[in-house]
Symmetry: C2
Subunit: 294 residues, 2 copies
C-alpha cells in the first residue's frame, strides 16, 4: 500500500494505472475509519481493480470551528484499516496541498444544496462539492463510492458530477449499523455512554415511520408526528430537522405519500438534558426511503 501526499504524484500514478488498463475506484473519507468505511471499500472493490482511499479532514465543509476541532483523527488505525482492506493507495494531503496559497475556486450545486443539512449548515455543501471535485480530479478514478447515510451529499455529488461532465461513476454504499441499529458515524465516538444509548431514537424513529407506512399510513404530518414522538423519548436528543422529501429532487414531499419518499433526520445528542453551548452537542444524521407501495 502506497501513501501519497502530493497531488502531482497521485495524478502520475493514476495515469500509469489507467495506461495499464486498470480500473480505479476512490473512497473519499475524512479518516476516523469505521466498519461503514470498510464496507464502502468493499463496494469499491466490486467496481475496480484497485481501491484508493483519500483521508482528508476538509476544513471548508465545517460550518462550526468547534466541530472541525472535535472531529476525530485516528491516522495509525486508519492506515491499518486500509491495509487490512487491501487498499492500494492512500491519498493523505495536508491542507496546504489541497488549498494552496491563493486558492479561490468553488464548485456549487444550487437547489439540491439548499434544504436539510444545507439549511442547517451554511456553506457545508459548497465545501463538499469543491473538495470532492478536487479529489476526483487529483485521483482520476473511474468510480467513486459515497455512503448513503449522507443521502443529500450523495444526491448533490451525483448532480455535480453529471453537470460538470466528470467521467466518474458515482456509487452509493448502504448504511452500516451497530447491532442495535445506530448508523455508524465517526461522530459516534464523541457520544458519552448515556448519549450513545439515547442516540438509538434516530433509527427507532425511522423504524416506526417505516412500520406505520407498512401498516397503511400515508399522511406525512402524522408520520412526522410519530418521528418527533419517538425522538422526544430521549431527553438529550434535540431535533435539527425531520423532513419528508422527494429522493431525487429533495423537494418537499406532498401531504399524502404516493411515491417513494425520503425521511431525513438530523438530531443533536447533547451532553446534558439542557441545550449546551453551540458545538457541544453531537449532530447525528440518518435517513430511510419510505415505500408507500411496497
Amino acid at each position: 500500500m502506497q501513501v501519497i501526499r502530493s497531488i502531482r504524484e497521485l495524478q502520475a500514478r493514476a495515469d500509469t494505472e489507467r495506461a495499464a488498463g486498470r480500473r480505479l475506484a476512490l473512497v473519499p473519507t475524512m479518516g476516523a475509519l469505521h466498519a461503514g468505511h470498510v464496507s464502502l471499500i468493499e463496494v469499491a472493490r466490486e467496481h475496480a481493480d484497485q481501491v484508493w482511499v483519500s483521508i482528508f479532514v476538509n476544513p471548508t465543509q465545517f460550518d462550526a470551528p468547534a466541530d472541525l476541532e472535535a472531529y476525530p483523527r485516528t491516522w495509525e488505525s486508519d492506515l491499518e484499516a486500509c491495509r487490512a482492506a487491501g487498499v492500494a493507495v492512500v491519498f493523505a494531503p495536508v491542507a496546504r496541498e489541497m488549498y494552496p496559497e491563493g486558492a479561490d475556486t468553488a464548485v456549487e450545486v444550487g437547489e439540491l444544496s439548499k434544504p436539510l443539512c444545507g439549511a442547517a449548515r451554511a456553506g457545508h455543501f459548497r465545501g463538499v462539492t469543491t473538495v470532492v471535485t478536487k479529489l476526483l480530479l487529483a485521483a482520476k478514478p473511474h468510480a467513486a463510492v459515497f455512503g448513503q447515510k449522507d443521502f443529500q451529499q450523495l444526491a448533490v455529488i451525483r448532480r455535480m458530477v453529471r453537470d460538470l461532465n466528470l467521467d466518474v461513476e458515482i456509487i452509493g454504499g448502504p448504511t452500516v449499523r451497530e447491532a442495535d441499529g445506530l448508523a455508524l458515524s465517526s461522530r459516534n465516538r464523541r457520544l458519552d455512554p448515556e448519549a450513545r444509548r439515547q442516540a438509538l431514537v434516530l433509527s427507532r424513529a425511522l423504524d416506526s415511520a417505516e412500520d406505520a407506512v407498512a401498516a397503511g399510513e400515508r399522511d406525512g404530518e402524522r408520520l412526522l408526528a410519530l418521528v418527533r414522538e419517538e425522538i422526544a423519548k430521549a431527553p438529550r436528543a434535540r431535533i435539527d430537522y425531520a423532513e419528508l422529501r422527494d429522493p431525487d429532487s429533495l423537494a418537499r414531499a406532498p401531504g399524502l405519500l404516493k411515491e417513494p419518499t425520503l425521511l431525513a433526520l438530523a438530531v443533536f445528542l447533547d451532553p446534558t438534558p439542557v441545550e449546551p453551548p453551540a458545538g457541544e452537542g453531537v449532530r447525528l444524521i440518518d435517513n430511510r426511503v419510505l415505500h408507500p407501495h411496497a
Copy 2:
C-alpha cells in the same frame, strides 16, 4: 475531421486517443472564427498531436440578452476554417447537451473574477468558468489554448485549473491584430465602417501608454489620462473601463509603476455619437502589459 455533438461520444474518442498515447489540445471557441482563432489552433498544434476545437455560444456567460442574440453565428465558414487548419475534431453541442434539464452546478473563481470585465458584466466569469470546466472534462485534453486578448479570462481560467487540480496545461495565445492595429474579435463584424475606423483608438491608446512608459513615464494617473485622451478623440467610443492592474493578482497597480503592469481597456463603439440604448453599442476589449524596466 470529425464533428461530434455528444459529450459521451467526445469522451470516448478522447479515451481512445489517450490510450493510443496521442496528446490532445483543445481550443474552446464561441465560433465566428477569425485569424485570431486560427492562430490559437496553430499554437495548439505545437503542444499536441491532435487539435480539437469546440464551438459553443455559451448562453450563461452573456449578461445582456441582446449581446447573446447579436453574437455572430457562421457555422459553415467555421467548419471550413477548422478543416483548413487541420483540426481533428470539432465539438459542437447544442445548449441542451451542455445544460441538460436540472443542470444546477457552477464553478466560481473569487477575487480574480471581480474587477474589470467581472465588474462590468455581472455573472460573466461564473458562466465562463462553469462552461470551460464542462468543456475540459468533456474533451479531456492534455492542453487548452486561450487568447491573451481576454487577459482576465486567461488569468481566471489558469487559477481555476490549478485550484481544481484539472490536469490540463493552459496556454495563452498572443493577440492577433489587423494591419492597422485593431485586435481581432468576433464582435468586430458588428461595427459599421465609421465605428470600425474609430475602434482604432483602443490600440492607439495602448501604444501611447507604452510609448510614454518607454520615454520614462511611471505615474499611473498620467498614463491613464493619456489613454482617456486618446479614446476621447473618437466621438463614438465610450470607455467602460481603463485600468492599471497587477498582471497576476489583478489587484490595482500602485500609483507609480515599478513592476510589469497590465493596462486593460473595455470600450463601447456606438452606432451614433449619442449613447445608444443598452445592447446597441459594440463592446471591445484590448490590453497590454507595460514594462517599466524594459
